[in-house]
Symmetry: C2
Subunit: 324 residues, 2 copies
């Protein structure tokens, strides 16, 4: 059973040394929420770090705020290991040793998956909350810590990235109410944060996006659009695969496209597939056929075959799914 | 002096026949605000229409809601002619005859310009409000009309387009507070509206965008990026110029780009120039040198010369401005 925000806040008040674990393949919500909580706990005089084992993506670097560490022995004693925007050992892959150091273990998350997996001392998961940043905001208020500009920036980044700039269906009244309060923080400027997150793409990434968009394929009378990022394309443009964020949204912006599919060639035998749908198509069901998963409208899978084989396997399934 | 929202609402209650005028080259705020007010006034039993003389852009077609007309004689008697998101005769170009039919004239706007020009019976301009949709929302509440789903959709569209999805600096606490309330309306779903506005680009427009992005030019060590849409490019892709919305934002998303400039070749002797800046550069001052204008960070001008000549004139000015 979910613990209350009150009981979690009370517990946090009694802890002096805390390691915070955002999920692997961190996003704005994982990193923003983790750092916001870390900053708040530090203001209370606690020893706290955000434990990482991967580099922070360039567009989220401003969410570091001196909080993160790669050193699993940074604290002599760890009273609490706390997962943020994450619930389950598979989500903190590679950081198990540091995790086990915490005498108490808990998680605060808004994902629906992983709940059955929980053997922690406490947890809070709110699948109807748009971003973990919203939960963290409430906890910081309960802790009695003033929202500083850095904390406000982290919370805004967490919420705006996970809601697709307040456009996704997960956005609620509460989402906007919390963000409204951030505007009371001296110096807060949404544009500054937004430009840091979205307006630092490399010229090379823009060229790559241009190449992908110029070579889309369409199926089912345009209801399905597919794009491909091959190793050759990355090499030609001098890009890495993690610079492909955002391309799938561009594909989804096309009129009449219900399903978007982006093939990412990790190597000649491994194809990562991102799936999106606009309205009715259950992309998670298609991804599940190939060992993947996700949400109804956003999912993915990894296929151990070459690009041509992957396309031949998945496109017919998408055609069936989109016509349902 | 600005009239109060209370006095404007009281006046609206006494009017039975009202023509509403959104500004020319309508955007989401002009059309969303106009239709929202029209729907509210109709709920009060009034004869009201949104007076247009241009087609509604495809991505805003859902904001029509049976409210608009092109017939300047649609009402036998016009008690009030009301500009929305607009203040000044130049903003309702081509609809002067219909405008003059109103025995009382007023405007409700959030633009700073045009205020000196006002000779109307009443006006309300709020330059610090992000969208006219916010002002209209407050007026509808004062009128005592319940916010229907259609009205909520119009208000959301008005606000989300004028704030760049709540990312622009013009966004305030009040913006989010109003949108929070829209979530109380039965059936309201931000994603539906957002998909209608942003996710109906033609395949051809995506190809054109791809071509523009593949051929950007950079100046001042990458601080300036320029793109071009020629008639030849439009022809090649089967696009019209008004499908180029959004390309300038893609240019601005590039790391290190402080100034973005998009040249649109209307014909061989007329080049429309859109200018944007990220931080400090005063693009309005550059546009003003060529008879244009706008805001600090977003402006434009029209140059009566060919593309090459326009580039040779404006790029050196941008280089000076960006280095300031």
């Amino acid at each position: 059973m979910n613990d209350s925000l009150n009981s979690i806040s009370s517990l946090l008040k009694t802890m002096d040394s805390i390691l915070i674990f955002p999920h692997i393949n961190m996003d704005g919500d994982a990193m923003g929420s983790s750092t916001a909580l870390c900053l708040a706990l530090r203001k209370m005089g606690k020893k706290t770090f955000v434990m990482l084992n991967e580099p922070i993506p360039k567009n989220l670097d401003f969410l570091e705020c001196g909080c993160s560490t790669y050193d699993e022995n940074i604290l002599d004693d760890v009273q609490l290991s706390l997962q943020i925007d994450s619930c389950g050992m598979n989500r903190i892959y590679g950081r198990e040793v540091a995790w086990e150091r915490g005498r108490i273990k808990g998680c605060i998350d808004h994902h629906a998956s992983g709940i059955n997996d929980i053997k922690y001392n406490f947890y809070r998961t709110e699948p109807k909350t748009a971003a973990t940043g919203e939960i963290i905001y409430k906890i910081i208020k309960l802790l009695g810590v003033e929202i500083s500009l850095e904390i406000a920036n982290c919370i805004f980044a967490a919420i705006t990235t996970d809601t697709g700039n307040f456009q996704h269906t997960n956005t609620t009244r509460n989402t906007h109410e919390i963000v409204a309060e951030l505007y009371d923080v001296e110096g807060f400027d949404s544009k500054t944060i937004s430009a840091l997150i979205y307006d630092r793409q490399s010229k090379e990434a823009i060229k790559m996006e241009s190449d992908v968009l110029a070579n889309l394929e369409f199926y089912s009378e345009g209801k399905i659009a597919t794009g491909e990022i091959t190793q050759e394309l990355l090499k030609k443009n001098g890009c890495s695969m993690n610079e492909s964020e955002g391309i799938i949204q561009r594909i989804m912006s096309i009129d009449g496209v219900e399903v978007g599919c982006l093939f990412k060639e990790k190597d000649q035998k491994v194809i990562m597939v991102s799936l999106r749908s606009k309205h009715h198509t259950n992309t998670a069901a298609v991804a599940a056929k190939f060992g993947g998963g996700g949400h109804l409208r956003a999912s993915g899978c990894t296929m151990n075959m070459n690009l041509q084989e992957a396309k031949e396997k998945i496109i017919p399934q998408l055609i069936i799914a989109v016509e349902k």
